[in-house]
């Protein structure tokens, strides 16, 4: 077991419930704990340095992780089918999907899609799904684990990051230095590596300030837990199960104007053939 932000945050948030690995899969950990007085599933993908899959040892979402997340979430949906739907709290700290030959040939795209499908189905079944970003939320790994949530909450910290491509890869591909890539993100906002810039697109429900992401105090954990609980309660109260609200905030109306305009005009021109 190695320390990671994902692990320390899931342990802190789920406490006193104990975090265990799911179905002999050391990289997918969970706890059934409580959140604001109701039951919640906490789940995270964490590093497993001894993984059989060498490209998935640092917390990446690989074939095993994608399918295990899918199974755990499906098990939760099935268990709650006739009762109150647990909140599902995805503690996100994923540096990327696993990049490897065997991953591709064994269908990592399908493993990740299975996780997407399960998380989206949980949301549609009435489980409030909250993604809490405590570290990296990179590319396909974030699509697989977190991006289907009703609400996305992030810690405002330099190492909390949502991007489609890592800094180093972006630098290599665009033949720029890391500093140039960072500078580019100042003007081309979708390419920014700053979470506070990402927040401007209206995709985040909340950006939590002033928390020590590496070594949170008890008060930090308590504050974050309360914000996650409130978000979960709001989702439950709203009864809303789709992602439409991502385009409704003032931030989205400004910064994702084109996304809204495309939908408006499509609806105008849709009509039956």
């Amino acid at each position: 077991m190695v320390a990671s932000r994902g692990r320390s945050w899931i342990e802190a948030l789920a406490s006193p419930a104990r975090v265990v690995c799911f179905d002999a899969q050391p990289s997918v950990v969970f706890a059934n704990g409580s959140l604001g007085g109701s039951n919640a599933l906490f789940v995270s993908v964490v590093p497993d340095p001894s993984s059989r899959f060498a490209r998935a040892r640092n917390g990446e979402v690989g074939v095993q992780e994608g399918w295990a997340v899918a199974q755990l979430v499906r098990d939760t949906i099935a268990a709650d089918r006739d009762g109150s739907r647990r909140s599902i709290i995805a503690v996100v700290d994923v540096p990327g999907q696993a990049y490897g030959r065997v991953e591709e040939s064994a269908g990592i795209h399908l493993a990740c899609a299975a996780a997407v499908h399960a998380c989206a189905d949980a949301r549609l079944a009435g489980h409030p799904v909250i993604a809490l970003l405590v570290g990296n939320a990179m590319s396909g790994a974030f699509l697989a684990f977190g991006y289907q949530a009703n609400r996305i909450i992030a810690l405002n910290d330099p190492q909390v990051l949502v991007q489609a491509m890592g800094r180093q890869s972006a630098a290599r591909i665009t033949r720029r230095s890391i500093a140039e890539v960072d500078a580019l993100g100042e003007s081309a906002l979708p390419m920014s590596y700053r979470i506070d810039t990402f927040a401007r697109f209206g995709l985040l429900h909340a950006l939590i300030e002033g928390v020590d992401a590496d070594a949170p105090s008890a008060a930090d954990v308590d504050r974050v837990r309360k914000m996650v609980a409130t978000a979960s309660d709001e989702v439950r109260a709203s009864g809303r199960k789709d992602l439409g609200h991502r385009l409704e905030s003032a931030a989205a109306r400004t910064m994702r104007h084109a996304s809204i305009e495309v939908r408006r005009r499509l609806a105008e021109q849709w009509q039956d053939p």
């Binding site: 399918w67 030959r101 040939s105 064994a106 399908l110 699509l143 979708p190 053939p273």
Partner: protein, 285 residues
């Protein structure tokens, strides 16, 4: 080659050589094609021009309404010739928005058939986070459609289907592929760059086609139909997909696939034949 074969070959119209608009036309019933948000609307990427890149008037996605075997349909065709078929804010919103309207149709009792013509490397680098966000919304829309209707994907090539859109392809209830297509999450160049040439040599074309080419994807069960590069044959396969009985989505066959993964020795870098034995319909599962 017999005379009949020769004639059939001569009459065959390549689908791969068609641009997105013509591909959509080929899938829809004759003369039923009507484009939404066409190039004349000039709904372009707001993010490319500031980065010194000319923005195409349709942002590389064609939204076409029409009918398929007489039923209302929408075809979402990605133009591989523009920015590598990459998805940005506008192109992504065209697909997500059209799928959301398809869902609204089903909720009011109109059984619109959705088809995705996937020719894409995934997120457009210059619109990074907005492409990623749009792809998450495309995933959400496909999942919400699945209980209502078959969602049919076509990966024809030559670009194939990669990145976040490979997950969209995997979510489709029916996936049609040609031998000329490659299909995976991370392209060979990306793997070589991220993991090194010892992991995968992107120049080793034979190896790559044997692992992620259309034929292997069909033989390992990651695609449902392997079709020739023939516009008529692909349109026929799409029609058949909408009347075929629905089988459980691959994304729901969790135990089966977890067993497959468990039976692989990743250190041994299994080859095409071993993978067919593990994942294929003729395999042990």
């Amino acid at each position: 080659m017999s005379a009949a074969h020769e004639q059939a070959f001569a009459l065959r119209r390549s689908f791969i050589e068609l641009r997105a608009r013509e591909r959509a036309r080929a899938i829809l019933d004759d003369a039923s094609f009507r484009e939404l948000l066409g190039p004349h609307e000039r709904l372009k990427s707001p993010w490319l021009p500031p980065q010194g890149i000319v923005a195409q008037a349709d942002d590389g996605v064609v939204v076409a309404r029409g009918t398929i075997a007489g039923a209302p349909a929408v075809v979402l065709a990605i133009e591989g010739a523009y920015q590598g078929g990459s998805l940005g804010e506008v192109s992504g919103a065209k697909i997500a928005g059209a799928l959301e309207l398809t869902l609204a149709d089903h909720r009011r009792g109109v059984a619109t058939r959705p088809v995705l013509l996937l020719e894409t490397g995934g997120v457009r680098l210059q619109e990074a986070n907005l492409g990623l966000a749009a792809i998450a919304e495309i995933h959400a829309a496909i999942v919400e459609l699945l209980p209502h209707v078959a969602v049919v994907g076509v990966i024809a090539g030559m670009i194939g289907c990669f990145g976040g859109m490979s997950l969209a392809a995997a979510l489709c209830s029916h996936l049609i592929i040609t031998r000329q297509a490659r299909f995976g999450m991370n392209g060979p160049e990306v793997i070589e760059q991220e993991a090194g040439i010892d992991e995968l040599c992107a120049a080793d074309r034979r190896l790559i086609w044997s692992l992620i080419g259309g034929e292997q994807r069909f033989q390992t069960g990651f695609a449902d139909a392997l079709v020739d590069d023939d516009a008529e044959a692909i349109a026929r396969a799409v029609r058949e997909a909408f009347v075929a009985p629905r089988t459980p989505s691959r994304t729901l066959q969790i135990q089966r696939y977890r067993q497959c993964i468990a039976s692989i020795d990743p250190g041994a870098a299994p080859g095409a034949a071993e993978l067919r034995a593990v994942f294929g319909h003729g395999g042990s599962h």
